[in-house]
Symmetry: C2
Subunit: 386 residues, 2 copies
């Protein structure tokens, strides 16, 4: 039995449903941010992140900062690239536009490599672009939450290392960390940034990053000072190193309750083989995508290799918009999200399938959602005389 | 009976002890950040902030952003002043140095008006400085958490309006909002920034601001784009306006659980006259300061008019350092903080007296802390043979 009040099941691409223990750790009594007990919790949390990212290289450093996932873009844009330098932004939806805007705020030149909605730039296009200019960073949205398009970061990282070895590989993993495989060391990545409220299964409010030694060296040898204060690695790097070494440290007060929740969920996630978790998400995704096809519906991401395993973005039939469908899902106890991509928001809906809704065999969230989707679509079409 | 596990009483200058209901609202089940229920909670929270700041001017706008209090400095420095423009920073401790560093990160020239530890710049010095240059902003730390020095923001704002009417009056209220009087409209302030975890009595993780119409106009007429992405008013202003008008809106996922906690504590605080709350804090402060004097101890803030009402920074006798005293307090179930001011950190301790520890008559936190302080000092002196 859940300790939570009855509520509709939240199946959007984040925030997601919480495990009871995670939620309960939010109501931890007040603690000093420099008390030995909290320092231990925070230090362990950082170390657990290394496990989640499959990184054992001590030169890499995890960060947990009060802020939304968006803040991770600022950390990259204000520390790892300088004014007038070039960034290559791979565009698979809404979030690349925003990352590019962030890079430009701090003076970098962002070149976007765009693909049509539901597609992704080809490996050939990426290779060609990398040969054109000495890009300081390449950014990849691992899963674009607006389209459900998955990028192949392993393969892209290989191309970068072969063609332009000094380019930092930056992965926006906001909608992928915790449900899509990421092998930080093995794939030779430089930054993976994410947020707490998606597949990690923690309430929102934490910006989470893992940064390679190469990225940290790039920061340390930059010519100009960091272009942000709150997002400055100069301010945060010693803090994170100290906490991991169980030494209290202060730059800004950490969000103690959220750190407890993160500690709980990371302990749960890393207590089992990650490969098992990724496989479970892939199986649920396959089942959902088959059900969507059975309903005669198409996904924004058309090619199987482009399809995220933790969310499905579904085109509505001609004549239907999200307000025709979402209230009918809610009536059945299920919450999906409307579209988000600027050019098509009114034409599709998004089904998030992450975390406990997928991994907890005691929950029937996915089955219920598939049934609800079927019924809601039928009802919506009937209401429109289709 | 508290629903919280037994724990030592946290009497540092933030985070502070939580009310049970506030803490319980942290474990609210997962909600979409754009659901009608959450939009209502967030919208009401923003409106409650107007009450807390005693502002009814619709041109002013409250903001609640995922981040620590530090982020508020970035909001000011990257939106309300431009590269090469001048800021006057009144220095009453550690936090002015940091605010100045933040302003400089974004290109402003920060001139600090310093006072010795425990003192504050005189009104004459402030007036003289304002006559020297057309400062775009003046920043005042209402209560410097490192020294417990209180600034007279009402009087300083009067001087600014008389001598340099275009200068924006920016108040760092991180350690004052909720326990020291702030009459935003009446005192004609431009920005008050604060954080959730001090006298507001909410867990840490929220940067909170109220901004005047004049400040917003300054932002809207700036020549250069905002110098930060995550802290950009261009990104946040429409979001806050929408939420307050109960319209869902998205720039970055808000920290839904923390917003619930903030809603709960603001509802509690504003359900009674604020003047009563400030008086209760002042009475507790008087009692604590008298007890400190009885022990023969001196405060960093020597003059009564310089003394904060929500914390007391206490010089230790010659030969004693925080590690001689703090563990002895902890043994008695009370947590104080060590010093923080760079030049004197090892020579003093800080006693925070805010929120429920002061306002809940059912709690004996202050009495217990005074007793514990007496015993701990005696024991520490004996141990040193004093």
């Amino acid at each position: 039995m859940s300790s939570q009040a009855p509520h509709p099941t939240l199946l959007i691409p984040g925030p997601i449903e919480f495990d009871d223990a995670v939620l309960q750790s939010m109501s931890h009594y007040a603690e000093s941010h420099v008390s030995p007990a909290f320092v231990k919790t925070f230090g362990e949390t950082l170390t657990l992140l290394r496990k989640l990212f499959q990184s054992t290289n001590p030169a890499a450093q995890p960060f947990v900062i009060a802020g939304s996932g968006t803040l991770g873009w600022d950390v990259v844009a204000s520390n790892l690239i300088e004014k007038g330098e070039d960034a290559l932004v791979l565009h698979t939806g809404y979030f690349a536009d925003s990352f590019a805007a962030c890079l430009q705020t701090y003076g970098a030149n962002a070149t976007q490599l765009k693909a049509p909605i539901g597609e992704r730039p080809s490996f050939e296009e990426i290779e060609l672009a990398l040969k054109e200019k000495p890009y300081k960073v390449i950014t990849i949205t691992h899963v674009d939450t607006s389209t459900g398009v998955l990028s192949d970061i392993k393969r892209i990282a290989e191309i970068v290392r072969r063609v332009s070895p000094d380019t930092l590989v930056v992965v926006d993993g906001v909608c992928s960390v915790g449900c899509e495989e990421i092998a930080f060391d093995e794939w030779d990545l430089d930054v993976v940034l994410t947020a707490s409220q998606k597949a990690i299964g923690c309430p929102p409010g934490l910006s989470i990053l893992l940064m390679s030694g190469r990225a940290i060296d790039r920061f340390k040898t930059r010519q100009s000072p960091p272009a942000s204060y709150y997002a400055s690695l100069g301010n945060w790097l010693p803090i994170m190193q100290n906490y991991e070494n169980l030494k209290p440290s202060y730059f800004a007060t950490p969000p103690t309750q959220l750190v407890h929740a993160l500690h709980t969920t990371l302990s749960q996630i890393t207590s089992r083989p990650l490969a098992e978790r990724f496989a479970t998400h892939a199986q649920a995704s396959d089942r959902i995508k088959a059900a969507v096809a059975d309903l005669g519906l198409k996904q924004l991401a058309t090619k199987p290799e482009n399809q995220a395993h933790a969310m499905t973005a579904i085109w509505l039939p001609e004549g239907l918009t999200p307000p025709d469908v979402l209230p009918r899902l809610l009536k059945r106890g299920v919450i999906f999200a409307a579209g988000l991509h600027k050019e098509a928001a009114t034409k599709y809906i998004r089904f998030g399938h992450m975390g406990v809704s997928v991994t907890d065999p005691g929950r029937k969230d996915i089955d219920n959602a598939i049934t609800a989707l079927k019924e809601a679509m039928t009802e919506a079409k009937q209401a429109k005389g289709q």
